[in-house]
């Protein structure tokens, strides 16, 4: 960091929020596309949703919500200089994040198994609306999964920094910002759940 600029946590958080704005608009674009198509093919979307495994979806929601909780708790812990707890919380978050991905991969795997994947011959036989539905399903959940992976990467760095005291009671804005990112990933999933799994 160029030495002459003084540390500005407020600015750092503002910057992070602005970045989150771009993320929100990015997914916003997809949600707009989703509603456009859903408006066009209400029935097909209904059927498409019925084919998804709602239980897995809900379990994943709980997993992510909990992981979000543990991140904030980690911040509280840091604010109170309780390093051990902070590490524990962050660890849990990472574990939960991985769980999410595992479940998701099973879910996708099942779909592939039933010949439901982009460009699949089986998909081509479905009515246009369902083709679009699954197109969106794979795109949106896939992109979200990508964000989870990135989030995990960032959080593991945070874990490392907490362990090595790069993040301390008096300077933890990086942890806060990574937390913000993780929460946003969570929020996006909060929307994906009803849109795809509970639509039916």
């Amino acid at each position: 960091m160029t030495g002459h600029v003084h540390r500005d946590d407020f600015g750092a958080r503002l910057g992070m929020w602005l970045f989150l704005v771009t993320e929100m608009v990015l997914f916003g674009g997809l949600f707009i596309g989703y509603s456009y198509m859903r408006y066009k093919y209400p029935a097909d979307f209904h059927h498409g949703g019925a084919e998804l495994n709602a239980t897995l979806g809900v379990i994943n929601t709980i997993v992510l919500l909990t992981s979000s909780l543990t991140v904030v708790l980690a911040i509280v812990a840091i604010q109170r200089a309780e390093k051990k707890r902070a590490l524990a919380f962050l660890g849990t978050t990472l574990a939960l994040g991985v769980t999410f991905l595992v479940i998701k991969s099973f879910e996708w795997g099942a779909k592939f198994h039933h010949g439901l994947y982009p460009n699949s011959p089986h998909l081509a036989t479905l009515p246009p609306g369902e083709q679009v539905f699954f197109g969106l399903y794979f795109t949106m959940t896939g992109l979200h999964g990508l964000h989870v992976i990135v989030g995990l990467g960032v959080l593991s760095v945070m874990l490392w920094w907490v362990a090595t005291d790069r993040i301390r009671q008096d300077r933890y804005v990086h942890l806060e910002n990574s937390g913000l990112y993780w929460h946003l990933v969570d929020v996006i999933w909060i929307f994906l759940l009803p849109l795809f799994y509970l639509a039916a």
Binding site: F10, L14, F19, G29, Y36, L143
Partner: protein, 539 residues
Amino acid sequence: MSTHAATQPSYLVDTGTRTGLRAWLTTTDHKRIALLYLYSMMVFFFVAVGIGFVMRLVQLTTFQKLVTAQTYNAMFTVHGVIMIFLFVVPGLPAVFGNFFLPILIGAKDVSFPRINLTSWYFFIAGAILAVLSLFTGGGAPDTGWTFYAPFSLKTGTNVSLAVFAAFVLGFSSMLTGINFITTIHRMRAPGMQWFRMPLMCWALYSTAWIQILATPIVAITLVLVILERFFGIGIFDPTKGGDPLLYQHLFWIYSHPAVYIMILPAMGVISEIIPTFTKRPIFGYKAIAFSSMSIAGVGSLVWAHHMFTSGMSGTALLLFSLLTMVVAVPSAIKVFNWVSTLYQGSIDFQPPLLFALTFIFLFCIGGLTGVMQGALAVNVHIHDTYFIVGHFHYVMFGGTGMAFFAALLYWFPKMFGKMYSKKAIYASWFPMFIGFNMLYFGMMILGMMGMPRRYYVHLPQFHWMHVFATVGSWFLVLGLLMFFGALLYAIFRGKKGEDNPWGGVTLEWTIPSPPPLENFEEIPTITHGPYEFGTGGKA
């Protein structure tokens, strides 16, 4: 860093451990990053200009051409992509915004210097990808810069890579936006209240907002195009239930605001130049500041005026035509305020002012033709004809381009500490101005006559006008070469530039030319508005 800023060398001199190229490529100094942008941008810019020039030559003959149809389609696509994504969109913010925003608000740098450098690297990465897309895969994309589905999904050319390049460039521009907003909120010098900021800052602030609110939409749209091409997820592909109109909507949701990303900083530049050379405060400071914000706001609500013939609902047609008219108002306000600022000033006529006034003239033509296109009954005729091509060259090149020139002329002494030959610049203005209007007004007439855009061969009745326009392009390029010739000469052989050659009163004129690494010896305290000549200047 040294606290005795008085002994500080210019930012052009390497301090620190690294030297030469390595020092530049790893710099976090906003001024050096600005120059990195300028130089790299110039390269791409001249490539695109060259292509544009060749396109004119192609139109010299009616049927038997000097390139094949495929090449021509690739040419206007590449020309458009480079000009938009590598030149006008990043142009003014990345070069002059980076260089002067911190100085104008009395800061030592932007909020996130390293992110600033990162976004330059994204810019270069995007550029390289764009260039690669010309030679790899199925060859240069041939869809036009708008990448309309389903053609962009079906064509064999290397659309995927080109589109990915645009995606990366979008990322670069978002990071710049984030950086500027945070900088303006956090780094203003003591006493630099919002309404004491020079108008350039307001322009950059509103631009930055568009950058972060609109760019992600095109980012995701382009990602979808790539996914379609590789995995056929079929959201835009009618054979899979997708909808081409959805693509057009998503594309223009970004790409119309993008045109205001191009013009707002240009307007900011003009608002800086005019007071300096009239030696009086700008007329209606707040009106101009707010009109920038309202352009940013309303400008995001008019995108579908690019789709009037696509078969949208009547309701949408009505709404978007109406909003298009509304968005023209703030621009009008600006124009009138600029002109009134000349009134009872004490005008010191210098090259920057000449180009600023040229901007106003050309931008008005561009803008007024824009209004014509916004009127539904007229749009049906001129949509996707050369009239449109004329319109956007007037606003983008006559507008943003000329402002870019004006900014170069205005800040050149500050940036490089050298002065150019004013005579040479005046001399270059004439061919540029004449050529410009021959070329692009010619195009508009062609459009009215019914010459569609993106046409490789044109029907005989359009021929003579095409020849006329082409001749114009020769003058234009001549003028351009003289212009940059003069500036290049000045960089190497020019005589020393003073600290305040134009008698300006904004902060950049209170520091040495070229500025020292940390801009200010100690952060100034601001006590009054930006353009107060009465108080003898010194902010």
